[in-house]
Every structure is written in structure tokens, then in C-alpha cells.
């Protein structure tokens, strides 16, 4: 199993989420981060003084998938997160040794993204 961690622009998330859902990868998590990278900080003004902000808001997307699905997820992220401008972010792939679905206690790759029919919004 692999965890795909991507640091992306906020506006890229929704299309990624939608396409991943379509392709059968409904499960993922996001969080707010701030980052610095190739994209430089901005100089802002406050009451006549300047303030250099060295980090910029980004979104971190985490998605654990079966080894074989790694490629398609990375592709999907690349497809939507890429504007070609500095600040698009990065994708990292990290090994995962184990996965447990809390609801059932079952573990293994089966728990990652598979969706049965009887899903309910609860």
C-alpha cells in the first residue's frame, strides 16, 4: 500500500476529488498547510509597514491506495493540479505497511478504497 501525499493549490482539490471518486477512489483526507518552495513569499502592507510572509497557504491531500493504484491517483492529481506556474506543489509517495478499517476492524488492502452498494450517508 502507498500513501500519496500531495501539496496542491486549493482550487485544484475539487476536480481531483470528483475524478478520483469517478475512478473508484472515494477515500481521501485533506488538511490546511502552509508551505514554501520555489514559489516565493509575498510582501504585504499593514499600516504603512511591510511584512514579508514566507509561507503560502496550500492544501495537503492524503490518499492511501493499493500499490497498483498509485499510478492512476498520481496521474489524476497531476492532471488537475498542474497550471504550469510556480507554486503547483509536489506529490510524494510513502510506503504504508498496514491499514485497518475502524468500523469493522478488518485490515489489508480491501479496506482502502472499495465501496459496496449499501453505502449510506450517515
Amino acid at each position: 500500500m502507498k500513501k500519496i501525499e500531495a501539496f496542491i493549490r486549493h482550487e485544484a482539490f475539487e476536480p481531483i476529488r470528483a475524478e478520483l471518486l469517478d475512478k473508484g477512489f472515494p477515500s481521501l483526507s485533506i488538511s490546511e498547510v502552509k508551505g514554501s518552495g520555489r514559489q516565493k513569499g509575498v510582501v504585504e502592507h499593514y499600516r504603512g509597514s511591510t511584512l514579508t510572509v514566507n509561507v503560502r497557504p496550500k492544501m495537503k491531500l492524503e490518499c492511501v491506495v493499493d500499490d497498483k493504484d498509485k499510478g492512476v491517483v498520481v496521474e489524476t492529481i497531476l492532471k488537475h493540479a498542474r497550471t504550469g506556474d510556480v507554486g503547483d506543489g509536489k506529490i510524494f509517495v510513502i510506503p504504508v505497511e498496514e491499514a485497518v478499517r475502524i468500523r469493522t476492524g478488518e485490515d489489508g488492502e480491501a479496506v482502502l478504497q472499495a465501496h459496496e452498494e449499501e453505502e449510506i450517508p450517515a
Partner: protein
């Protein structure tokens, strides 16, 4: 009709005529008595706006003491409440509270309208502008009393309960209390020859609201998680002291209208004496509460300082027209200390997020009693006696003073008992029918999303990425703008 600027021009004309002191023709003669009436009512109008402003104060107080998931409901509540009580008061409440009928209820003035006859016999009068003023001012007070009710119920009550109880409270419970003390013919107006003194409503308004709040709490129970498995209370901190602080300041300013406005006239600039007492009482309240909480926890709780201000104001409300300046800060100080001990004590058993039971209940009781202690001979009038202070240290008759103290206590007890019973009945009926408390799931999710479809801080709860860039602009005749969205924006 309304020629704003024409009128102004006319006024200007008038002034230029007046200034040289020219005599006026007979038909233009202005009767000082009419001016006097207008002046009194202008003051009531000002006071009325200030008292309505207090709704914003209560709103902020409740919101600030709530968690973020329960803030929108407070907004909807204050609006619906104010709307319902306005209609209830107009249709029924004002009539019940009016100086007509018997000692229990007024019997005329329903569906308030111009030229309507209110009262019977020699006291009867036909509704004119000044009566509309009095009616609106009465409504503002009723609305304050109602606003107090909900302080104990935050974060778990069903929305429908607000509207339903507002009807009963605005049409019956509050008007009956107001009638009993302020109509001049009510039950509490002659207790063995003495009247209950409550200048602006420590009991009539504040204790009444707090007692109904108590009734609601008894039937509602505590918030999930308020009491640990060990039965010990846990702090459930609200989300914003700035909003609480602004609320307190707004209430403080509104109280000038509440108290000094209750002079109902500008005669002898007496309202200023009332206003000064109000300020001194509030100051005492802040100091009392601040010192008490600091001595208790070695830290100055912000919310408690706010509660202290309110307790001081509630405490001085009954006496603001009856006590000398020196007594006002003392009354406030005691109220401030009371509110701290009250909050900490009640907390053990009762989950009252804003401290309404203490700030309006305890302080309201204390304030009413305090008139029996500090009431000044100069001010209490003929139908009452000065406070026991003057009986002991002054030249007032101690027996009569103690009698007045007793009358004050009777007034408090009567109001508490009446409101508790009727409110329990009303809330029990609501509970038995539409229900009083939201489901556990809704309580956990928060009332905003559960009852209002959206968080009160929507953006904080809903991720920004849910609004992706769209490249659609609807075709509206006359909209020449097309905003071609770039392939992707940059943040």
C-alpha cells in the same frame, strides 16, 4: 404630506420669526402643556430605542458564550422572538398589562388601534400618539424579559420552543406580572397599604425572565458533556469573549434607556438622577464580581467581569429611582459578588451557559430587596416607606421600614412563584407536544447545521475548495460581461 425639505424651510422661517421675539397670531400659539407631553414622549422614544438595542446585547452575549456550532441559531432566535412578542403584545399582551380591568389583568386595549378606548369610567382614555409610545416602550421591556429566558437553554433547545413560549410569555406571563406592579391597580400595588417598589423592573422584568429560564432548564437538562461521569461540572467555554464584551457594553448603554427611561418624563431632569444611579450600580457590579472571582481563582475571568456589570445593572434597576447616589455602588457591588458565587454554586447542578440565573435572578431579587434597605424618604413616595437603613441610622420609622422590606420580599416571592408555575406549565406542554430538546445527534452536530441547514460560521466549517472556479456567467439581458476563467487560477 411629508415635505421633508419644505418643512425644514418652514422651520427655518419660524426660527427667524421667533428669534426676534415677535408675537404670534392666536392660531399659532403653542401650548407649553403640549410641548411638555411631546418632550416626555421624546425621552421615552429615545429610551425605547436604547432598550430595543439591548436585544443586540443579549444576542452577542449568548453567541459569545456558545460554541461555534451554535451561533447562527441565536440570530434566528432573537429575530423570531422579537417578531412573535411584537405581535403577541400588540394583540393581547398590552391589553392584559394595561391599567384597565381588575387587580389581576387588564381587560381592554387588545388589538391596539388608534382611538380605541382603554379603561372604564373616569380613567378611560382614547389611544393617541403618546399611548402608542407607552405601548411600544412596554413592548421593549417585555422583549428584554423574554430575551433573558433563553440564557439557560443554549446549545440544546428546539427552535420551535422559542416561538411557542414567546407567545405565552408575551401575551400572558409578563403582562400579568407588569400589571400587578406597574398598572397602579395591580395586586402588588397595595400590600397592607404599601406598594412593591420596583422602579424599572429588577423583579418585573429580570427576575421574571430568569425564573422562566429556570423553569426551562429544569425541563431541559444539561448539555451533553457538561457533567463528567463523576458528576462534576466541566467548563464548556464559549467561543468569543469579544462578542461577549461588546454585548455587555451594548446592554450597559441600553440600560440608560431602561432605567432612566422608566422615569417616563423629563420633569425636574429626574431622569438624570436615575441614569447616574445606574452608572454607579454598574460600576459596583463590575468591581464586586472582579474582586470576588479574583479572590476565588486568582485570575480575573472575563465573562465574570461582564456578568458583574449586568448584575450591577440588574441590581440597581429596582432602586435606581428610589436610592441616593451613595447607595447605588453598594447595591451594585453586592450584586456583583452574588453573581460570582451564584454562578459557581449553580454550576454544580444547573447548566446555565451565560449565567442568567445569577445575573438576572439573584441580582434581581437582591435589587428588589435592596429598595427595602436603601430606599430614600425623598424618593419612595407616599405609598411606601424608606428602607431599613434609614430606620436604623436615620430618622425613619423602623417598623414601617421593616414593613416595606417585607413588602419587597412578598413581591419577589409572588413574582417568582407565579412565573415559575406558569412557565413550567408552558414548557411542560411544549415538551409533551413538539418536544423541548433536540436529538443527541443534532446536539453533537450543532444546532446551526441541524436546525438551520448551515453553520453560523459557514466558511470556517465548509472547506473553501468546495467553491471551485466556475467559468459560467448566466446570460442576462444587459450583461455584456463574460468573465472567461483562465484555465486555472493562482493563489
Amino acid at each position: 404630506m411629508t415635505k421633508r425639505l419644505g418643512l425644514i424651510a418652514l422651520l427655518a422661517l419660524a426660527v427667524s420669526l421667533v428669534l426676534p421675539g415677535m408675537a404670534f397670531g392666536q392660531e399659532e400659539a403653542i401650548d407649553p402643556a403640549a410641548l411638555d407631553l411631546e418632550l416626555d414622549n421624546l425621552w421615552i422614544m429615545v429610551a425605547c430605542a436604547l432598550v430595543f438595542l439591548m436585544q443586540a446585547g443579549f444576542l452577542l452575549l449568548e453567541i459569545g458564550f456558545s460554541r461555534q456550532k451554535n451561533v447562527g441559531t441565536g440570530v434566528a432566535k432573537i429575530l423570531v422572538n422579537l417578531a412573535v412578542i411584537t405581535i403577541a403584545w400588540w394583540a393581547i399582551g398590552y391589553g392584559i398589562n394595561s391599567a384597565s380591568g381588575n387587580e389581576i389583568i387588564g381587560t381592554s386595549g387588545f388589538f391596539f388601534r388608534f382611538d380605541q378606548t382603554i379603561g372604564e369610567g373616569a380613567d378611560a382614555f382614547n389611544v393617541a400618539g403618546a399611548d402608542a409610545m407607552g405601548m411600544l416602550f412596554g413592548l421593549a421591556f417585555a422583549a428584554v424579559s423574554l430575551a433573558i429566558v433563553w440564557g439557560t437553554t443554549l446549545e440544546r433547545i428546539k427552535f420551535s420552543a422559542y416561538a411557542l413560549f414567546a407567545v405565552v410569555f408575551g401575551a400572558l406571563i409578563y403582562p400579568i406580572v407588569a400589571h400587578s406592579v406597574w398598572s397602579g391597580i395591580g395586586l402588588l400595588d397595595d400590600i397592607g397599604g404599601k406598594e412593591v417598589l420596583d422602579f424599572a423592573g429588577s423583579s418585573v422584568v429580570h427576575l421574571t425572565g430568569a425564573t422562566a429560564a429556570f423553569a426551562a432548564l429544569l425541563l431541559l437538562g444539561a448539555r451533553r458533556g457538561k457533567y463528567g461521569p463523576d458528576g462534576k461540572p466541566r467548563a464548556i467555554p464559549g467561543h468569543s469573549m469579544p462578542l461577549v464584551g461588546l454585548g455587555v457594553m451594548i446592554l450597559w448603554i441600553g440600560w440608560f434607556g431602561f432605567n432612566a427611561g422608566s422615569a417616563l418624563a423629563t420633569d425636574d431632569v429626574f431622569f438624570a438622577e436615575v441614569a447616574l444611579n445606574t452608572q454607579l450600580g454598574a460600576a459596583g457590579g463590575v468591581l464586586g464580581a472582579s474582586l470576588a472571582i479574583w479572590m476565588m481563582t486568582r485570575t480575573l475571568d472575563v465573562g465574570m467581569a461582564g456578568n458583574g456589570a449586568i448584575a450591577g445593572l440588574v441590581g440597581i434597576t429596582a432602586g435606581c429611582g428610589y436610592v441616593e447616589y451613595w447607595a447605588a455602588p453598594i447595591i451594585g457591588l453586592v450584586a456583583g459578588v452574588l453573581v460570582v458565587y451564584g454562578v459557581v454554586l449553580f454550576e454544580k447542578y444547573l447548566d446555565d451557559p451565560v449565567g442568567a440565573l445569577s445575573a438576572h435572578g439573584l441580582a434581581g431579587i437582591w435589587g428588589t430587596i435592596a429598595v427595602g434597605i436603601f430606599g430614600s424618604a425623598r424618593l419612595v413616595g407616599e405609598a411606601a416607606s424608606p428602607g431599613v437603613w434609614y430606620g436604623i441610622f436615620g430618622d425613619a420609622d423602623l417598623g414601617a421600614s421593616l414593613g416595606q422590606l417585607g413588602v419587597q420580599a412578598v413581591g419577589v416571592a409572588a413574582i417568582f412563584a407565579f412565573v415559575l408555575v406558569t412557565s413550567l406549565a408552558a414548557f411542560a406542554a411544549i415538551k409533551a407536544t413538539v418536544g423541548l430538546r433536540v436529538s443527541e445527534e443534532d446536539e453533537m452536530a450543532g444546532l446551526d447545521i441541524a436546525s438551520h441547514g448551515m453553520y453560523g460560521y459557514p466558511e470556517a466549517f465548509i472547506p473553501q475548495e468546495e467553491y471551485p472556479s466556475g467559468d459560467h456567467t448566466p446570460a442576462v439581458a444587459g450583461t455584456p460581461v463574460a468573465m472567461p476563467a483562465k484555465a486555472a487560477g493562482k493563489a
